[in-house]
Symmetry: C2
DNA sequence: CGTTATATGGAGAACGTTCTACATTTCATC
DNA sequence: GATGAAATGTAGAACGTTCTCCATATAACG
């Protein structure tokens, strides 16, 4: 509007720590001290500086911060964004972070080890302050190597012997036991587990843990150590085909424990389509108690491991590690059963 | 192991551009040039440098890069991580980014304007190269202000008059028309829309656009301009209560068009629970064609706007803008109907 | 009043890149 | 050979912070 409109400051208008210092009539170092509320700042100085910050709308550059010190960002790595269990974890992370000055940035690896690695490296290169890895695929040694460079908490990754990083898990073995016990308590006898058919069978993975729990519960109840475990491939076309085959088997079990709601729900859908009645012909119990399982239409009994809580606990652990803790922590939550129609018919029809 | 174990380089072992330069026997600037494959690099030089990079396992620091030039990161802002439509968008973004040297970092705003603002600011402060905002809540003027500082593409945000940023949308008005037309074609006459009950009624929001399309289609078919639109609150307790009330109305319409699968699916669940048969008593059509809608158990007819494609198109637009385009683009995709059991019974029972 | 502690503020060197200028070499072309 | 033009490589100044020393001012104490 004014005649004095300048051309120059069009892009060069970034308010830096220097602008603030000049405006407040103090040194750059002083402003920095106030920002980090470091030692050696008088009330008068603080007031001057905060006023200037307010007046100019100053925001420190995260990039520059990261170059020298902390970036106040924590990275979250998700294996997969479609699994409805993961948003719960994110919600937990964000809940804990919200009141703090930390912020979360999320990366999605799509279960690709390659991408997972490069994402972790990127987060390190951004000088993020810490990482929450949700169900990472990388082997423990590699994670340990990364953990030297940045504080790490792994969620959904069983390695209680790791010393370089922390782990936060629901007790997946126990969860599987609870599932089996629930099926037995309902009187079902022929019980099978449907697990994930993956080449990698790390004991670190939650899937493997659930298999162990399933086997143990079956054995304890006298059904032999080699209780049957079916493998469902991950990729979509094969996946449904395998399930259909399972459903049409003539020696189909009376009840099935699925390693994840994701599979359980698809199974339920196919069962309906193929005329297999649930739970009359086949009882189903899933894992994660995802929001979809809770839908009236789906009505899937499931093991609840409170993703939200896992996210919260993991974040708190990470922050304590960022703030200096060095001894590793391995936290185990107890999962619980949420009974629904797929386990035992609600109506006495 | 060796006796010469040094204490010093324990943390100081970062391989920087300087390490590479020394190792290759060239200048720092030369290495930088190779990295950015800038003009003025001979084959011999390039070979020396890439060898050194390989040998040392050098990765440029994103933090330092961001401070001076590009960071090769694009920020994605999600309004909500629970809506199963959004993972599709992410998949599209990642698909386009994967072969490039760009990487995506995701922030989740949980529909909070405050958080959305601070996340955008953070991404700017990280010197990210561009932003994909998915269904942002901020008004257009504010977005325009941000767009001066960083290239922005908004997805699910209708503002074809914006000059500072691009928009990528499915044609939500058309989508709603298609839905209404489909219901009419099935012979249903009493049709209502269930929309989102929010204070904010920006025309930019997809919800409002769908309402407009619904009204227009109804009017065109002779059902008056004031076709009824019910409002469903977002928060969970009130939400279901409102739906129950709707379902038990004695003047309940014959068919309903829901603004989102999210609501449609809950409605389907409640309908089953309350004994309202779908589609015999009530036909339902949703929006988004989310993965949940496709489940056999749910079997919800829905308007497909291919989130994946939106993500791809948006990312390509963003990259072209990063690379210099200044004129704004406003892209509109045509949605399509996916007919399923909630629209017309598949079996002739 | 000296002398010593303590509290307060500032100078300036990192941090690891990018990128503008410039210096040098190589190559045509006359 | 001389003369530009083009190609190739380098020095070094940013970028916006943090943080270690230092310098000074003030308080405490005998």
């Amino acid at each position: 509007m004014s005649v004095e409109d300048k051309q120059k400051p069009q892009r060069n208008d970034r308010v830096t720590i220097r602008t603030v210092a000049t405006h407040a009539g103090v040194s750059v170092a002083a402003v920095s001290k106030v920002m980090r509320n470091a030692y050696g700042v008088s009330e008068a100085l603080r007031a001057k500086v905060t006023d200037a910050i307010e007046a100019l709308g100053y925001r420190p550059s995260r990039a520059a911060r990261g170059l020298r010190g902390r970036s106040f960002t924590i990275g979250v790595l998700l294996i997969d964004i479609r699994n409805p269990f993961l948003p719960d974890v994110i919600a937990g992370v964000n809940g804990v972070l919200a009141p703090s000055h930390y912020q979360a940035m999320i990366g999605v690896s799509n279960a690709r080890v390659q991408l997972e690695t490069s994402l972790i490296e990127s987060m390190i290169d951004y000088k993020m302050d810490g990482l929450v890895l949700v169900a990472p695929r990388l082997p423990s040694e590699i994670l340990a190597k990364f953990a030297v460079q940045i504080p790490i908490v792994a969620v959904g990754y069983h390695d209680a012997s790791a010393t370089a990083f922390d782990t936060v898990n629901a007790d997946d073995q126990r969860g599987a036991e609870i599932a089996v016990e629930a099926l037995l308590a309902c009187g079902y006898r022929g019980i099978e587990m449907l697990s994930l058919g993956e080449r990698e069978g790390h004991a670190v993975s939650v899937v493997r843990q659930r298999e162990i729990g399933y086997r143990r519960a079956m054995q304890r109840c006298g059904f032999g150590a080699s209780a049957p475990i079916g493998k469902i491939p991950m990729a979509s076309p094969k996946r449904e085909e395998t399930m259909r085959k399972f459903l049409s088997r003539q020696d189909r079990p009376r009840a099935v424990f699925c390693w994840s709601d994701l599979d359980a729900i698809t199974l339920l859908s196919l069962a309906m389509e193929m005329g297999v009645r649930v739970p009359d012909d086949l009882a189903v119990i899933g894992y994660d108690n995802s929001s979809t399982a809770a839908l009236g239409l789906v009505n899937l009994a499931s093991i609840d491991q409170s993703g939200r809580e896992l996210g919260q606990v993991a974040t708190r652990a990470l922050i304590s590690r960022i703030e200096g803790r060095t001894a590793s922590e391995h936290i185990l939550q107890i999962p619980s059963l949420v009974s629904r129609g797929s386990l035992i018919g609600s109506d006495t029809k």
